[in-house]
């Protein structure tokens, strides 16, 4: 599998560490009533067969966290953006 790191160019999968579903959003409140949101954030995961946004750490390269869009059934990689940009875009959508 080749991952197109926005900083380093295309690199093979052995340079990356994965952290799963990137669609989760850390709650912005610590109010006790938000416990369910936190449970969802920490424990529940999108786990689709097919297109999937996932966190990937270029741990063997530039050490950037990326969000890679990939097909979990064919392993086709559609693209990657930095987690920073992904988070900001998600914030902008919210």
């Amino acid at each position: 599998m080749l991952i197109p790191c926005p900083h380093c160019g295309t690199r093979p999968v052995e340079e990356f560490t994965f952290l799963g579903d990137a669609s989760v959003t850390r709650p912005t409140t610590n109010d006790p009533s938000s416990m369910e949101q936190w449970y969802d954030y920490v424990y529940l995961r999108n786990n689709p067969r097919g297109r999937f946004d996932e966190y990937a750490h270029h741990s063997g390269g530039c050490r950037s966290w990326l969000v890679v869009t990939r097909n979990t059934e064919t392993h086709e990689v559609y693209g990657a953006v930095t987690a920073r940009d992904y988070t900001r875009a998600k914030g902008a959508r919210a």
Partner: protein, 437 residues
Amino acid sequence: MCKTKTLGAVIPPYHSVQDLRMRYNVFSLIKNSFSGHKNWQPAWREPQPKSEYDIVIVGGGGHGLATAYYLAKEHGLTNVAVLEKGWLGSGNIGRNTTIIRSNYMLPGNNPFYEWSMKLWENLEQDFNFNAMVSQRGVLNLCHTDAQRDAFARRGNAMRIDGVDAELLDREQVREMYPFFDFENARFPIKGGLLQRRGGTVRHDAVAWGYARGADSRGVDIIQRCEVTGIHIENGKVVGVDTNKGFIRCKKLGLATAGNSSETAAMAGLKLPVESHVLQAFVSEGLKPYIDGVVTFGAGHFYVSQSDKGGLVFGGDIDGYNSYARRGNLPMVEHVVEAGVAMIPSIARVRVLRSWGGIMDMSMDGSPIIDKTPIQNLYLNTGWCYGGFKATPASGWCFAHTIARDEPHKLNAAYRLDRFRTGHMLDEKGQGATPNLH
């Protein structure tokens, strides 16, 4: 072998198995040889699905078939269908590294896996099928003082509950496996934790034995039947859509391993589970080389030798979510590097084949066997890479949970809501990162 206490159910001797079309034994083999083996009956029927069942189990793998078997055998529930989208046993039951053991540590896990071991020990006579249960020992190597301390904790947790465990020192390990690297190792072998009752089982035969046993009791095993939707009315499951039409059911059990998130999503449930590919490997056939099962403690590698002579081995998951039953080279190298580090002479042995299975990796490394928020929907998932050894107990407990609508005490800790309440069963201490379990 150490004494173990029984856990409720009494395992019947083989002669109480009822209604088998044809008993298997050496005499039936000889008899059939005279007729050129033309008269063997099918091991299971190929029925068309009925329009309604009391219980439908989704997933014709080890856990699903075992569930159906024990529903029929232990609870007398035979109006049961097992729906399998591929061929019987095409999931992880047919693609694992065949290891059985009960060397667990936490109170929620240990009695469950020990019950599984007891069921293994009587399985073949129970279902009249030789699955080659082979208790040649599982040895976990340790390479640091901290690992040895952790093994001492684990071994004592086993012994305190009557499970066999031995802590070996370096010389005892060397006596068992003198050709391991004791001279030039990057991480010297300091000892190991041995469970002599651990071992291997011929994995396909487990699926076939359970299928034959369930079928003979009236369970319909329907292959090439893919579930495409779950019907829920007023918070209750009423049936499933399949490629062979709608099938009504009073109760629905999901035992779909790596596909659990997908099947649960049909009922609107999001699970604390990720799907990951785990590769396994077999070498060319060799004369006896490794007697038991051995796991390396300084890398990801475990190995045993099958009765056919192939070294069956594996390591870690590839690490990224996947539904593709195949992996990539980095993990192949990672596993094999550890293998050669453990056994320097293995360098000239050849790896014949690699394959992959999809693991239902849970958030604490332990499984879920439970009811769900939806009435009459039951869930069996989260086996990480330990599902095979659990097959008998998983089926036994899941059958109990479905039949009685409540978990058995053996699976009481495997609750779906344990993450919400903070009662995790985390043997490795890795937390909510499924790919580290």
